[in-house]
Each structure stands twice: as C-alpha cells, then as structure tokens.
Subunit: 204 residues, 2 copies
Amino acid sequence: MLELAVLGLLAEQPRHGYELKKRLSETLGPLWGISFGSLYPALRRLERGGEIEEVDETAGAAGAGFVPTGSLTGDLAAARQRRRVRPTRRTRKAYRITDRGRALFAELLTDEAGDDDRAFALKLSFCRYLEPAARLAFLERRRAQLTQLLATERKPATRAIDRYTRALQEHRATSTQHDLEWIDELIAQERAEQLGDRPEGVSA
Amino acid sequence: MLELAVLGLLAEQPRHGYELKKRLSETLGPLWGISFGSLYPALRRLERGGEIEEVDETAGAAGAGFVPTGSLTGDLAAARQRRRVRPTRRTRKAYRITDRGRALFAELLTDEAGDDDRAFALKLSFCRYLEPAARLAFLERRRAQLTQLLATERKPATRAIDRYTRALQEHRATSTQHDLEWIDELIAQERAEQLGDRPEGVSA
DNA sequence: GCACGATATATCGATTCGATATATCGTGTG
DNA sequence: CACACGATATATCGAATCGATATATCGTGC
C-alpha cells in the first residue's frame, strides 16, 4: 500500500522522503500518517527493486527551467540561492520513478485486492491515471462494498449492548450511508462525463 | 490498544481468543479487524504480565447457571444446542481478568494519549466503566479534536489538485462535520442525564 | 463413515509504528 | 555576530501488527 503511494507521488515528479510524507498526510488526511520508520525502508525496497532511482537534484535544472522539486528549504530558498553560493545542500535524496516503477504502479492501482478505507482513499487520489472504464469499475467496486457493509450494519444487534456501543453502531451505519451517497454522486458524474466525452475531442 | 480491547472484553466475563476476535469486529466494525497474529501474542503478553489468567471452562459453571461464553458455534449454535448435546469441547483456552488487569484497564481507558478513530471507538464502547465526569471529559476531548481537524480540512487546498482528490477532501470535511454533530448530541445527552441524576430507565 | 465448513489455537516473515538520534538550514533575539 | 531554536531531512531500532498458513476438533449433512 505504501509502495503504491510512493510510486503515485513520484509519477508526478521526483521528490525526496520528507516531502513524500508531507504530501501524503496533506492530501490524504490523518488517515495516511505514514511514519519514517516505514517510509525510508520502503524507499530502499523500491530502489533495490529498480522501481525508483536516486536523482541528483543539482543536475536536473539543465533541461527544464528549474523543476520545482518542492521547496529546497521552502520557496524562500530560491531567493537566497541567487545571492548566495550554490546550496549543494547534500543531505536530501530525491527519487525518480522508472519504467519498471510505472508498471508496478499501474498494477497496484488496478489490483482489486485489499480495498479498505485507506486503500480506497489512496487509489481515488490516483484514479485519474486509470482509463475511464477502469475508473468506473473501481468506483462501482467500492459501491458494492459499501452496500454490503451497510447491510450488516443495519442488522439489529442480537446481543444486549450498552447505549454507547449502540450509539456507535448507529453512527457507523449513517456514516456508511453517507459514504454510499457520495460514491453514487461520483459515479453519476463519471457516467455523465464519459457519455458526453465522445471517442474524439473534449466536449465542454 | 489491543490490550485495552482484550481487558475490556474480559472485564465483562471470561472469554477465549477466537471469541474475543469475533466480538471485536462485531461490535466495533471492520475498523477493528484484529488478526490472530496480534491477538494471541497479546494474550500471552498479558498472561505473562499477570493481567489475565487462564481459567478452566468446565469448572466455572458452578456459581451462575451456564455462563454464556458466547456462541460456542455462533448464533446458529443456540438452536442446535437445545436439541443436541452439551459441547464440552476441550481445545479452547478461556482467560479471566485479574485485579492487576482491571487496574491496567482503568489506566488505559483514562489515558489521553493516542486518540485516533480506532482508539475513540474502542474507548467509547467501554466508557460506561468511567465515572460520569471522566466520561464527559472524554467526549469533550474528542470534540476538541474533531473541531481542530475540521478547521484544517476546511482550509482551501493551496496546491493544484485533480477533481477526485478534491472530492475526497470535501467528503472528508463533511464526514468530520457529521462526526462532530454526533458527538455534540452524545455530549448533550450525557449532560442531560447527569443533571437529571437519574439512573435512566426506559421511561418515555 | 466421512467430507466439509465452522470453530479454535498457534506461528512465521514482512510490514509498520513510535521513539529516538543526528545533522543542517533559516530565523529571531540579545 | 553568536547562539538558541524550530523546521527540514535522513536514518535506525525494537516492538506491535498483519496476512498467510498449518493444524487440529467439532457438528452437520449426505
């Protein structure tokens, strides 16, 4: 799961560990508060496997006009850089995704196994990389999951439970209902867009 | 966290591992899908620490007439059990909580550290063991937490994000809002009951 | 009688967490 | 200008947890 997250973020642009962690918790919320104790080992795993590779930050600027590696020390660094020496700040290690990495990313993203809340949130944030049909299937899969979950949650508690636990169960059911309505909305939007979007051209 | 769960369930009555797992996922939902690979080691830890101890199931029945050890074979068993023999099946190891265990339970339940969603759900399901004041404080703590979370979620995304990620963020915010309203309701109920100072009957 | 699914305990390797260590950089303060 | 301090950044350690798997037993249905 962490590997999917890392690959997805690196698919956008090269980044270093610290930034990967920040991005994750920033866009995915507290649900994805990854620890360094799992992130750095994961980076090493991926590097050993050839899915990502280290990239020299100082060199990269050649081709494209200053790739925003993401705040060398914040955006402020840009200003300082001009009136100071080259930072050569060599403590950071940025990584770039490889072709092999992109293949694994696509595979993990399409993989139907293990779709809990965390996995769904992560995949959704990367589902723009899926083809329309696959994306719709992904959403429908989640919908089916939630529908089934809701059914079990709606079943009356057979055992005697205290009112706090009961309140918890009821709240869970309404939350799932809420999630389900949301997914339905996403699916509707997706269908509408795919219908409007003919096999040529981008409709307004 | 797992230890709190185990102790809390054993505080009600002696149970064996398999049943502990079932109870947890049953009452706490899929959020608490504990694996055996963590449950059994936890039981051994607690037993070594003297917080729980093994109890002979066959002997225990003395005082109370048939302690409902909890679905010897699930709910279906209830029906079967009546028209079939008494089980007496000796492969299970039931545990009972000790005084030392109760002390740890109280400590863990009151402990303010690490209150994520999982922890909150678990503690809520046991909060009947707290004194009214402590229970109210517990709920208020959660409320403060959610309020703060909502504030960060409402902040507009500074970065450019695709529409799926944006939808995700918006949904998270409304979900948190939903949770917050629910907590407010719980708090209101709690206050009302504590003021009325009535042991709460089903009087309507 | 006997295959089968549910019950039940246990262990293994891999993954993840939480805490901690160690630097560097930029900033604010006296 | 020294200097403490907080943010940035990488790394590692032990403990906790997961997911898969192994191995029994029990009750049921055929």
